[in-house]
């Protein structure tokens, strides 16, 4: 176990280094003098001078990178030019909203995706199988921001059942919070449900054709017990691991979903930062996301390692 962890960490450190170079290098793409662009329309000489000194713009690229990376290692992702707050504080402020959205979306995706995948596998080549495959294709092909707009049209404008936008904290009003989150979470979970359905179907088909399932059936066990206790439990390990890897899709999707439903989360933070040319926030959000993704990947790998006795040796 220790050897395995050490091996994984040895590949993660260079990856994190390259992520940071890539993200810091984004600044090089800005056309012209970054200080002039970051100072905004005012072109205030004191602001420009301040930016030059704080960002070490007179220094060569590797030196500037070293200053920035040194800060990142200490948890300093820079300061928002517009809100004048540390980027990390802004991220931590917005993160709980997006995490709540992502968790509800993942539950919805698991329920729909795993159920459809199991049905599709046990009824292979039947009408149910085709229907589940069509639903998966629909999920993969629908732009989630359009689905969001269509759901607002149906459930908010036409039926008046759910609020079209906005966010209420669950600590203030739990029912209001769920009413505001259910549509965006469904929109976000839709595409992931499709991916999970395909994974579940292939994992279940593989498990259902294995010897121990045949043995369980030969013993005369009830088909429900065979499917749920013997097949699904074993098929779930790769599904959950792959589910963890869908975290990136969740965050990408959250950017658009939060924009459609005006949810003040992580995604809205990056979009607002883009339009306010708050580049430190953009860099900070990407760095944070990539690090979280790498950490989650590691957790999924370790979880898979622990759950699979053959790997543990």
């Amino acid at each position: 176990m220790f050897h395995y962890l050490a091996q994984r960490l040895a590949t993660i450190l260079p990856t994190l280094f390259f992520v940071s170079v890539l993200i810091f290098g984004l600044q090089q793409l800005l056309p012209g003098d970054p200080a002039l662009i970051l100072a905004g329309e005012d072109n205030d000489p004191t602001v420009i001078a301040h930016l030059r000194s704080t960002m070490h713009l007179d220094e060569p690229f590797p030196v500037r990178y070293a200053y920035w990376a040194g800060g990142v290692l200490k948890g300093d992702l820079g300061e928002s030019q517009r809100i004048k707050k540390p980027v990390l504080d802004l991220i931590l402020e917005k993160l709980p909203v997006t995490l709540e959205l992502a968790c509800i979306a993942m539950v919805i995706a698991l329920v729909i995706g795993v159920t459809a995948g199991v049905i599709s596998a046990i009824a292979k080549d039947s009408v149910w199988d085709y229907a589940a495959n069509i639903v998966a294709l629909w999920g993969l092909s629908t732009p989630n921001f359009w689905l969001g707009i269509m759901m607002i049209l149906l459930f908010s404008v036409t039926l008046g059942w759910l609020p079209a936008s906005g966010y209420v904290s669950p600590f203030e009003d739990l029912r209001g919070n769920l009413a505001a989150m259910i549509m965006p979470a469904f929109v976000l979970g839709n595409a992931i449900a499709a991916v999970l359905m395909r994974h579940t179907r292939s994992a279940m088909l593989q498990v259902l054709s294995s010897d121990y399932v045949r043995t369980a059936r030969a013993k005369g066990l009830d088909e429900r017990v065979v499917v749920i206790k013997h097949a699904l439990r074993n098929a779930l390990i790769p599904i959950i691991t792959l589910g963890a890897l869908e975290f990136g899709t969740l965050l990408s999707g959250a950017v658009l979903t939060e924009q459609v439903f005006s949810i003040p989360g992580f995604g809205k933070l990056i979009v607002d930062a883009v339009f306010n040319r708050d580049y430190a926030v953009v860099q900070g959000v990407v760095m944070f996301t990539a690090t979280a993704y790498i950490a989650l990947n590691l957790c999924a790998d370790v979880g898979y390692f622990l759950a699979n006795p053959r790997l543990r040796g």
């Binding site: 992520v19 984004l26 092909s141 732009p143 607002i152 404008v157 990136g248 580049y279």
Partner: protein, 290 residues
Amino acid sequence: MSTLAAPLAIHREASPGARVLRRLRRRRAAIVGLAVVVGFILLALFAPWISPYDPLQTSWSAVRKAPSAAHWFGTDEIGRDVLSRVIWGTRASLLAGLVSVCISLACGVPIGLLAGYVGGATDALISRMTDAMLACPFLILAIALAAFLGPSLTNAMIAIGVSATPVFIRLTRAQVLAVKVEDYVEAARALGNPPWRIALRHVLPNAISPLIVQATLAIAAAVIAEASLSFLGLGQQPPAPSWGSMLNTAKNYIDNAPWMAVWPGLSIFLLVLSFNLLGDGLRDALDPRR
């Protein structure tokens, strides 16, 4: 005579390309996907002749009119014909899909080939850089790139193309690693061919099938990504028509002009679905195990 001619004809027809086409023809969903994609390509090419109105022409007497005989898909918030804008918007979406995947292929295939064929420290370096890019979620990386490059359709295509490159690097590398140990590659090496010739003439052509499938599916992802960037205001800039930016405007008028949102979204869905169906069909047709 005729009994001999028939097997010969079958034998002549069974070239790899013909076999793939024959298998693809048997997959009805893939053929439907291909037909819809061709339909969209024709719409994009003949947009000036097909679209009933100028997509930029405003009309204050026809603001937010519901679909009618004069305007089949209705009009938008400044009286522009939605059908004409949807037809012209096909150009931005298809262009973004094709150009960004070409960028990904042009960058990803040579780098993947280099990593897989040369191996060693070069492979380790390229693999770590690829991991780093894959650690940034695709759309978030594309948004960040588009933000720093500046909002325009060209920059959106570059951002999407660069963000999708690591997938092609990884896929090419994996294929090359599998192919380069084959006997025919060994034979080519024993004959004294230079490494670049072996890589380009013997390894790459035998590693290309999964790349074709991935490219088709990547076009679908790129079409959604372009629409997403345009929806956020980072792609095609107004007043030029694009499905994503049309949806961005439409969401503000959803309660009194829902048709503004329905058609551009449906077009994205249809085009992406068609590329996905085609990609799935190609995967089956190109897989020798099936």
